[in-house]
């Protein structure tokens, strides 16, 4: 569905160079610190910035060959942008109906009511949560085949986040050929919906793994200096010095649990995983 091959885009002091692939039926998460290149990658896929080199293939076509009819199969919600604040939800209905042949007006109106989005109020007077929910709703309401979502849950309270994620789950349940590419700083959100992850750091993909494997096989080991010296470190991916000793990241949880029953071997939460991957020393 989407394939990036050595997509390169440079700015002073920054170079994005990444490759990734998304198949139908998949929700793929992009994680990484601020400035890692997530937004640049998303904007390149959407044709908002011009890559220096590499290829972007979407729906089997080169990005430059996409017509409006292909672009209508794409839904997007990006950070710090959206429908003009001067418009109302009713205006949005008229506009989306004209842009998207597959716009599901009944679904859109029903969801607006469920999500508490007033129809005749100007969007500029919406709360942050309402604006964010509307953005995602716009993206999912025209039967798109691929969603590109950059930080769709940023700044939302727990309830609004849950409503937004439910929209995405519902979107995927309706058609098994759909896919989502999503980034978020809230790792719990990604953990709960993504099938796989790419980690982006300094413009490069540094890691790719299935969520199930990440949750089942990866672990954090907490130990002191003495325990570390006695440890088989063949399956340790990262090491981080802490006040009490060390925190290690492994992708062989079962091996360490079985062979070192006295060690603290915990499932790696997404936040811990990101922290170790980015701050830890590679072994």
């Amino acid at each position: 569905m989407l394939k990036l091959e050595h997509l390169k885009k440079s700015y002073p002091g920054f170079l994005l160079d990444c490759s990734l692939s998304i198949e139908p039926g998949q929700i793929t998460g992009i994680i990484g610190p601020n400035g890692a290149g997530k937004s640049t990658m998303f904007k390149s896929i959407l044709g908002l910035v011009h890559p220096d080199s590499g290829s972007i293939r979407l729906f089997g076509k080169d990005l430059r060959e996409l017509q409006d009819v292909d672009r209508a199969k794409l839904g997007a919600a990006l950070a710090e942008t959206g429908l003009s604040g001067e418009l109302t939800v009713e205006d949005a209905v008229r506009i989306l109906r004209a842009f998207y042949p597959a716009f599901d007006e009944a679904f859109f109106r029903r969801k607006c009511d469920e999500l508490g989005l007033p129809r005749d109020k100007q969007i500029k007077n919406f709360s942050t949560g309402m604006k964010a929910k509307l953005k995602v709703l716009v993206a999912v309401s025209h039967k798109a085949q691929l969603l590109i979502l950059d930080e769709p849950t940023a700044g939302l309270d727990v309830l609004a986040r849950d409503q937004t994620l439910s929209l995405l789950r519902e979107y995927m349940e309706q058609d098994d050929q759909r896919a989502i590419l999503i980034s978020s700083h809230i790792s719990n959100d990604l953990e709960s919906i993504c099938d796989d992850f790419y980690m982006l750091n300094d413009g490069r993909i540094v890691f790719h793994e299935d969520t199930d494997k990440l949750m089942s096989d990866y672990a954090i080991i907490k130990l002191d200096e003495e325990q570390l010296s006695a440890l088989d470190q063949r399956y340790i991916l990262r090491r981080l010095k802490e006040n009490y000793g060390y925190r290690l990241l492994t992708d062989q949880r079962r091996y360490y649990r079985e062979n070192y029953p006295n060690l603290v071997v915990e499932r790696a939460s997404m936040d811990e995983f990101i922290m170790l991957m980015l701050k830890g020393e590679a072994l």
Binding site: L48, T81, S84
Partner: protein, 215 residues
């Protein structure tokens, strides 16, 4: 493009307070027998209103959202030119109706030839303004665009004055005689060709600039 037009008309709906004022001024100029000025004023107002929709698109990274929709940048430019044309036509129609009503009430014959000439010149000036304003706004944004637009017109005026001074004495009369010798149909055709050429240049420059931009 239909979606963009609907978006712009939805945005222009917020300018509804301006419309009664425009209508009032149109009636006022007509009643005061400033027929030509009514057409010119309303034509320019409509052009500025159409081109001004670019400012709405610009606010809060609006272009970033807009170009995630199924619309090409080329279509965006086309729509801005089309919107200018539509609003200009509406403005001319409004002025025409005001004048027609006024002349009917006054029981005065409708000045068809004078109105015809005024409409042709107003449409030409407004379309040329749109052809300059649209690319300038795309390239420099709404704020800087306004300043650059004024500079462009000031330079054009200065160049015209300079040409007038440099031409030998009697040139103006010769030119006036030359144009007076042409039939109105030829004059309109020449003007139409000139406007179309300027519009095409404005369109091509706008497309080139908008396609280079990153959002």
């Amino acid at each position: 493009m239909k979606g963009l037009l609907i978006k712009d008309f939805c945005l222009l709906k917020n300018q509804k307070r301006v419309l009664p004022i425009v209508l009032l001024l149109a009636v006022w100029f007509t009643v005061m027998h400033q027929d030509s000025f009514a057409f010119t004023f309303i034509g320019m107002m409509m052009t500025i209103l159409a081109v001004g929709t670019h400012s709405y698109d610009e606010v809060n990274n609006g272009f970033t959202f807009l170009f995630t929709l199924p619309v090409s940048r080329r279509s965006y430019v086309k729509e801005k030119f089309l919107l200018s044309g539509i609003l200009l036509c509406l403005g001319m129609l409004l002025s025409f109706v005001c004048l027609l009503v006024a002349k009917t009430v006054e029981k005065v014959p409708f000045p068809a030839s004078e109105v015809g000439l005024t409409v042709v010149l107003t449409v030409a000036v407004c379309l040329i303004s749109a052809a300059v304003l649209i690319p300038v706004r795309i390239r420099y944004g709404s704020e800087s665009g306004r300043i650059i637009f004024m500079v462009v017109f000031a330079v054009m005026a200065m160049v015209l004055v300079l040409i007038g001074r440099l031409l030998p004495a009697g040139s103006e009369e010769k030119a006036a005689q030359f144009f007076a010798g042409l039939s109105p149909a030829v004059l309109v055709a020449v003007l139409a060709v000139a406007v179309v050429v300027i519009l095409l240049i404005g369109y091509c420059v706008s497309v080139k600039w908008i396609e280079k931009k990153e959002y």
